[in-house]
Symmetry: C2
């Protein structure tokens, strides 16, 4: 099982002078690892029994903290040569104590003692229940360099409440390898009493099939997705990275700051007094269709199907107008990026964040909106109430929800999700060799399409004219309209152009909406099975790549290879 939890984990950093280094959060905030349940399994489950739709997947968010230790200690540490993952599994399994339980004969510490051990010189300690652990050796030589744990000098429980993937016997047993003492029982009880950080999450529509519940991530069934050109809010995909914040409007205001502008604080009411703009724009997760890429080789992240995308109308204030109003002058301003921070917080109270290039933000034709309405109604909590960013043509991860702060800067957002996530890599780059600082953050997305009807392995009725009817969507980033969708049932010997049945008439460069298409694809009389392929072409004549093999990447993002759907034919 070890292979499924790579030792390298994502990080983000805070300057912590007491550590004499930058302190970094060590986790993959980008998604749970669904070890046992693929997208298609989820989908089938959902089909079989609608009432079971809210299946409990393997809950949790990402390879993280001790998973990192787990992989690293056993694979890299010279002192322990482990020849196989089976050996490791055995070793971990052989631990028979109760994780975090009191062990007689070990010294007892207070949290105050533990807190002193949060610098390299004084060793790095953490606690879990009644256990105290020294993880210094790991931290000093961690492959992620300065990827130090946010939790050093404190308790693990708040992290593990947030990223529930840790709550497995393997992880807790492994932790015991680092055991050095016992924690004062009263303090251990206090640490354990952390509430579920997701307790205030909203209820969701049963149309949404979750790939993860904490944080909540879910998509509709593909055939439902393309029923409407404007995706109804209730089954617009949800991609949360953290618990949904509870916003008190009486305290809510967006702070805006940066060089050359007047620092400003805007309540929702003040925002609504500015000119209101409405755009129709598709928003898509960088991980959409990841379950297909994972067929080549496993990747990190939520195993999305093809429905982590939606098209909605968004109303709010144009960022370009707001910035102009508070004094932004492009000819003199040195800012290169506009950073956004959400109200959703990590255990260390660091906000979710992302940034977009300044050119996009200040271009009136870039149509970046601080949206307070979705499909004509106030944003729902899952979609960012009261205000979120809509940066059309750009990856969903930058469309920061529960918007709290806007910062103009020469630098991209320092947030984990901008610096250590949502980047593409060459297929042969591994977690160990990835040069995160050199890779480009995903902003504009490439051209993509998907077949939504039929679904994989469906039994499909052959039309009288020896065709099957195929329907789906296509979209491209950067405001580039879709100019063509080709579909084949014979491996591309005969491509058939789809009819673009619903699309926007917006001009290239400002064409933010998806295109819905339909086509009747000929099938040979003798065939009982065929594999449908779809590919789209955008106005720059960029086309989808053929297969996942050559675009595979460690994070499983940018899954825009031809969509291939094997089906059974029924006559």
């Amino acid at each position: 099982m070890l292979k499924r939890f790579p030792g390298r984990v994502g990080i983000w950093c805070l300057k912590r002078p007491e550590l004499r280094r930058t302190k970094c959060a060590l986790y993959s905030a980008s998604g749970a690892y669904l070890s046992d349940r693929s997208y298609h399994e989820r989908r089938e489950n959902s089909n079989e029994n609608f009432s079971k739709r809210r299946v409990v997947g393997v809950v949790g968010v990402g390879a993280s903290f001790l998973l990192g230790i787990y992989g690293y200690r056993y694979l890299k540490d010279d002192r322990r040569q482990v020849s196989s993952t089976e050996e490791l599994d055995e070793e971990v399994a052989s631990y028979s104590g109760k994780p975090g339980g009191r062990i007689d004969g070990l010294p007892t510490y207070k949290m105050a003692d533990v807190a002193k051990h949060s610098s390299a010189e004084k060793r790095l300690w953490v606690t879990y229940k009644e256990g105290v652990y020294d993880i210094t050796d790991f931290v000093d030589s961690h492959p992620g360099g300065d990827a130090i744990l946010m939790a050093v000098g404190s308790a693990l429980e708040p992290f593990w409440n947030l990223y529930a993937v840790h709550k497995t016997p393997q992880v807790t047993k492994l932790l015991e390898q680092y055991r050095i003492g016992n924690l004062d029982p009263a303090e251990a009880k206090e640490n354990a009493e952390g509430h579920d950080p997701y307790h205030a999450d909203p209820s969701r529509d049963p149309e949404l099939v979750p790939s993860n519940k904490k944080p909540f991530n879910a998509e509709p069934l593909p055939e439902r997705l393309i029923e409407n050109y404007i995706t109804p809010t209730e089954y617009f995909y949800v991609r949360n990275h953290l618990p949904v914040p509870v916003v008190d409007l009486s305290n809510y205001a967006i702070e805006i700051e940066g060089p050359g502008i007047k620092s400003t604080s805007l309540t929702l009411e003040e925002l609504k007094k500015m000119p209101k703009h409405t755009i129709t724009a598709t928003v898509m997760c960088a991980g959409n269709r990841r379950s297909e890429m994972s067929q080549v080789k496993e990747v990190k992240g939520l195993y999305w199907g093809p429905s982590a995308i939606g098209n909605a109308t968004w109303s709010g204030v144009k960022l370009s107008e707001l910035l102009e109003k508070i004094g932004f002058d492009e000819s003199t301003n040195e800012a290169l990026h506009v950073q956004f921070e959400g109200l959703d917080l990590t255990p260390e109270s660091n906000p979710y964040g992302g940034s977009i290039p300044i050119e996009k933000a200040v271009d009136p034709k870039g149509d970046v909106i601080l949206a307070y309405e979705m499909n004509g109604k106030p944003l729902t909590r899952d979609h960012g109430y009261p205000v979120r960013v809509i940066a059309p043509g750009i990856v969903g991860a930058r469309c920061v929800k529960w918007l709290n702060r806007i910062v103009l800067s020469k630098e991209e957002s320092p947030a984990f999700w901008q610096r250590r996530d949502y980047k593409g890599f060459s297929p042969n780059v591994t977690a160990e060799t990835a040069k995160w600082d050199e890779a480009a953050a995903i902003e504009e997305l490439p051209v993509i399409s998907a077949i939504c009807v039929p679904s994989k392995h469906d039994h499909v009725h052959v039309n009288d004219d020896s065709t099957v009817t195929v329907r789906g969507y296509a979209w491209s980033g950067g405001g580039r309209p879709i100019i063509r969708v080709d579909v084949t049932s014979d491996g591309g010997d005969r491509w058939v152009e789809a009819e673009l049945v619903e699309k926007s008439d917006a001009r290239p460069g400002r064409h933010w909406s998806w295109t819905l298409w339909e086509v009747k694809v000929p099938v040979t009389a003798s065939q009982n099975q065929v594999e449908l392929w779809a590919k789209a072409v955008d106005s720059s004549y960029n086309v989808q790549p053929e297969s996942f093999k050559h675009i595979w990447n460690i994070r499983g993002v940018l899954n825009n290879a031809y969509h291939r759907v094997p089906i059974n034919l029924v006559r």
Copy 2:
């Protein structure tokens, strides 16, 4: 051989009331058809003997006029059932007369008689030397619909001088099938005395390897191409569609007109008084690398290698500033396109033309330049002296040379090259099924790369570290920078990231220059041959498609599949 000359040909149209229909020029102005000589053959020839570099290929421009008749008459006419191309070849070969020679017993006509036969009612006649021909039957049922010949009622010689591909025994023999009479010998002599329309073309540098000489089209050798980040003017590829016009500066002025602007005429001197801007931008032909696509199935057009691209500095006036100066107001102006016309003319005195979207033209960051300097010196005649358009990030075909006229319009340029050429189609679209009016004109180009060193079938020295050194270029349209180039020697089992050795630091959206790259790719000790593949990724994370099969198109444009170069290893 017939298959090589499809019956369908490109057209452009003039309203000719006397024909009671639109009169159309019937030709492919976009390039010669090299039936016998591929790019690599040209290249090898060039390598073998530099002095023979200016090889005379199969000269001419496009499938055209009688080639259209040729294909159509024999394939479609019910009266003649030809079972194979061999049969047709035999039939044509059996004609033993002298094409255009006098045939006793036929009536003799004057040009004035022929001119009367230029309407559907009065039959459609043409002449060639002393021959008079009635091509009505073909014209009435031509698969191109209203694709009537520009030459009806007149002599063919001016067309054939311009598009020398007609001057083959096959075409002239075929013409005799339509023979109805003899032309007055004195008038025939007059017709024959037309001068070579290319007589005033400039001399060219021997570094340029022509794929066609009339009109002149040539590219440098790939290894020469990437020697410089800024391509020297003398071997910057040349893609002319017509003879190079002779420009008299004392008569030269650019006319600008359209709704909502002050009609303006600007001499070069006046242009130079406006603020001068310099940009560095790559210009590429839509047909670059076409010789590779033709390996899948033959395509129409010049068989370019990978060097129909170059990167230069361009200085001149910003179109956005010029338009603003003469009153353009985007908030009220209804124009959607900016059309350009060159001084290069067809036999019927129609100019070469193309257009770009208005948004590109009026955006100061779009950097569209009316350039009068290339690499710091006045434009050469081959590159558009005195003024050409540089629309960076957009296909070379819209960067109109010898600029004569600018028209703002709701419509795209009516020119052949905008409406009936330089468009992409689905692989299964044929000349007969192509819906030209529905297809999108190529503007922004997709991401592309090429391996320039080594070349196909080169014997390459293996480095001491068991690698081979590979170098090339990569580029993308729309101002999108290249963020990565991957190269493999084993079919993509192991991709190696190239170093981006020379590139611009311009921001995304305004990144007009190419990127030069270099990489050492590992090769297995036991291999004597490998095939190198290269693919690039741009800032929108669009990536090149894998193979030509699924992007093949009738016009052989947008040849951006992985560049695949088989080489021999030398140790």
